[in-house]
Symmetry: C2
Subunit: 490 residues, 2 copies
């Protein structure tokens, strides 16, 4: 277990790979670049889904489902879009296999070639906007606020579990509006939903901002994002919300009659988060002993471990634990009583630490005599002996305290690793240590790309809350009106 | 709306197509054979998913996610399996597009050809059992009880929305066991879960049975099924649960050390239901005015419609309805107050009937004076004027009564359309009218296929509860020991 996990100090990247494997969150599949999400990893995703889905519905969205396949010709209809996605598309060309005439298994049947190849959706703007054309006639049909939970495929050459895989799971919202203003408001509303979710549920502090033209979604007019800091000081884009203008409406000829009877093109947004967030969650909080999970997304929030030598001792413990566990379940706590008699307590402690159970409660014969238990906090490693009387009632508050603590720790880390740089020397020396750098930039793609080429750092975003401040670009020396965030990124 | 729906008597098949379209449940997409599931259709699916998922978890299963792609060679490993699925496989051969050198959009990049083609999963036994090989070493790793919610693709030449589409959504359970007996028990347990779900939640009475060898899942030793009757007397297979024996364990070399230290192959099951159930739900209950939904899966269970001419009247109605709706929401009822002032009550009534809202409550100025409302039941078309005092408290019981009523009506229909046939003449004349036929069969595939050829009727199942009864096969006259169910089927 923990001894199989490379320490973060030694090799952060190996630490991540080891943790994902040892905690049984996910693994590589037989198909290059695709992952198997194991039950623990998937359970975390289910809690994320449930919370996000509730937020989407509270903001007026409904779910629907659009096809996996996109006709090749659809992709070409929006010029920037095809440019952005064509190079990573899985292409279906045939619809049948047949027995190999040479007797070796099956081969693709050459007679079953498709007239037009189908792309596995890398994102669904094209197929959805082609559908919206028939759904939207008048301003009365707007806004159209639809979300889809789906798998998508982007052929990746270099993959990492959760962070970058050929197939991944996500949600993609696609909305249609009568006015530019309404679409812009929607774009920002969903960015706020993502930011609140990341901070309150995943305990990951994020910076809301706007992407530069280089980093914009292919087909968007403006891409908003939330950027998070991992424990190695690198940035991770945790969610994006795009204002698409009328680009897709024009490409797919989606128009409506407004209140004055004038025909106009529809305004659009799209926004998404993916199973990548599981990677972010791991990298933001976990330690060398394994996973650290915020209680809000922990499949098991509390584990109770009995400590005993004799069966009579276990029976007495069982009696006490039974009531305690029933109370917790009654108040909606996800609790597990680990009374597996084939494993020793020490093994169980390590196992539940590895799997990120936020709160562990151990109870032995001496505890029974004293009316106490030992509680151990996964995040801080703090242990405490406390009375069992009234403890069940205190658990929700303890979990809330853990949730807060994990967030504050991550926030403190980010603050300690965010720096201003005013010269190129400062900039490059900070980059070596890792972290976010607030620096002036002249606003040109040329400078941005040169900085990326020389240092691998990219502009993560132009923060929404960045104050106006006159300065000089750290690279070109040209004038700048505000600082942007640079970092190396996942 | 309703006038656009062909009556069932006139053309049952057109009635179904019209209803799916007019009630905005689903539509054909630009990709042949694939459907778009519209928000109302998808919301019904979400309620089905939530209920099934709870049942799976209560029976000890966990969710996971396996890749969309299956390497072509995997399919060939289980002989019957590849035979069953090869002819309907979507095949990915390339992983990149490039600009057409002739300047016409994009083309498939011939340099990006895969070494081994990938099949879009038609079902996931092969990719999952290839993964299980590494997860299972000892009896301690068993049973493995995993479910997956996913999309699958089976290339269909003749498609119908929900009932038969190239891509569909489903869940597929895949379990691994140490003994044959345990796997058989699991197969039957999940069949029971499906049957209970179909009857209690979807109000569709089902017959549990075993498929004949002809109709067995490709790769299974035994296929259990639930069969439902539609309003045209045809059968619809609503769910299947397969005992896979050791077939996939042997094909993928999945073994374990049992308690005695002997290495054995693992025993397997798989089971699934799909978005086809939405089609079953529609066909089992709906009428010429539109959808009839059991309250358990109705996205809106109660709609309240104000009847008024003047704004003052509406204000008074609003005041009363506000409290009423709040009470219903408080007790978890999905209620909508349809106070849209751009539509007339008559239009709204027809709309909510079309969309299958189980209970409609209308309230006008005279009702206010009398302290009454008019409630209308979607399933029976019954209307009733009742006092509003205490009505909110009665709504849950009314919904339960509707749920029961829909089930009993479908049960009565099935009973009235189930017949014994003892001669070939009886058999064929009943078939013309439609319904289930209980008849003797000699147990051979030959006879089964001949009957199918001559009448299009298939053996839906050998019912689990069929009593032993000696008789003669209606086709061959050979001896038979029990009756099986014949019907034409979707």
């Amino acid at each position: 277990m923990a001894e199989k996990i490379t320490p973060r100090e030694k090799d952060y990247s190996e630490w991540y790979n080891d943790l994902v494997k040892e905690a049984q969150l996910a693994e590589h599949s037989a198909v290059k670049g695709c992952m198997v999400i194991r039950p623990l990893g998937y359970a975390i995703w289910e809690f994320m889904q449930a919370d996000l889905d509730r937020r989407f519905k509270e903001t007026g969205h409904v779910n629907a489902y659009f096809p996996l396949f996109v006709p090749k010709s659809f992709l070409s209809k929006e010029a920037a879009h095809v440019e952005g996605f064509a190079k990573e598309c899985a292409v279906v060309t045939h619809y049948r296999l047949k027995n190999d005439p040479n007797g070796k298994g099956v081969i693709v049947d050459p007679d079953a070639k498709l007239d037009e190849e189908l792309i596995i959706r890398p994102t669904s703007e094209t197929i959805i906007w082609n559908t919206y054309r028939n759904w939207i006639q008048s301003y009365r049909d707007l806004p159209l606020l639809i979300n889809q939970w789906a798998n998508v495929v982007r052929w990746e050459m270099r993959t990492r579990l959760f962070l970058r895989t050929t197939e991944f799971l996500w949600q993609e919202g696609h909305t249609a509006h009568a006015t530019k203003q309404e679409a812009e408001e929607e774009t920002k509303r969903m960015l706020d939903v993502y930011a609140d979710f990341a901070e309150k549920v995943l305990c990951i502090p994020v910076i809301k901002g706007i992407k530069t033209a280089n980093e914009r979604f292919a087909g968007a007019e403006e891409t908003y994002c939330i950027e998070a800091m991992m424990q190695d000081g690198k940035a991770l884009q945790a969610g994006t919300s795009h204002f698409l203008g009328q680009n897709f409406a024009k490409a797919f000829d989606v128009t409506f009659l407004d209140k004055t009877g004038t025909r106009e093109h529809v305004w659009a947004t799209s926004w998404g988060v993916s199973t990548r967030l599981i990677g972010a969650l791991i990298m933001a909080h976990s330690d060398d002993d394994g996973l650290i999970l915020p209680p809000a997304v922990a499949p098991t929030q509390v584990v109770v471990v009995p400590i005993y030598r004799k069966d009579e001792e276990l029976e007495k413990i069982n009696a006490v634990v039974h009531d305690f566990v029933a109370k917790l379940k009654g108040s909606g706590i996800r609790v597990k009583y680990d009374d597996d008699d084939t494993k020793k307590p020490g093994w169980k402690f390590a196992e539940h630490e590895l799997k990120g159970v936020p709160l562990r409660i151990a109870i032995g014969p001496r505890d029974l005599e004293n009316g106490t238990v030992e509680i151990a906090f996964r995040d801080t490693k703090m242990k405490q002996v406390v009375g069992i009387d009234g403890l069940a009632e205190k658990i929700p508050a303890l979990l809330e305290q853990i949730q807060q603590g994990i967030y504050l720790k991550a926030l403190k880390f980010r603050e300690e690793h965010t720096f201003n740089a005013d010269t190129w020397e400062e900039f490059t020396s900070i980059l070596d240590k890792g972290g976010f750098i607030l620096a002036h930039w002249d606003g040109t793609s040329e400078t941005e790309l040169k900085i990326k080429e020389e240092t691998k750092a990219t502009i993560r975003c132009i923060p929404l809350n960045a104050p106006n401040e006159e300065g000089k670009c750290i690279y070109s020396g040209k004038p700048s009106i505000r600082r942007v965030i640079f970092a190396k990124a996942y």
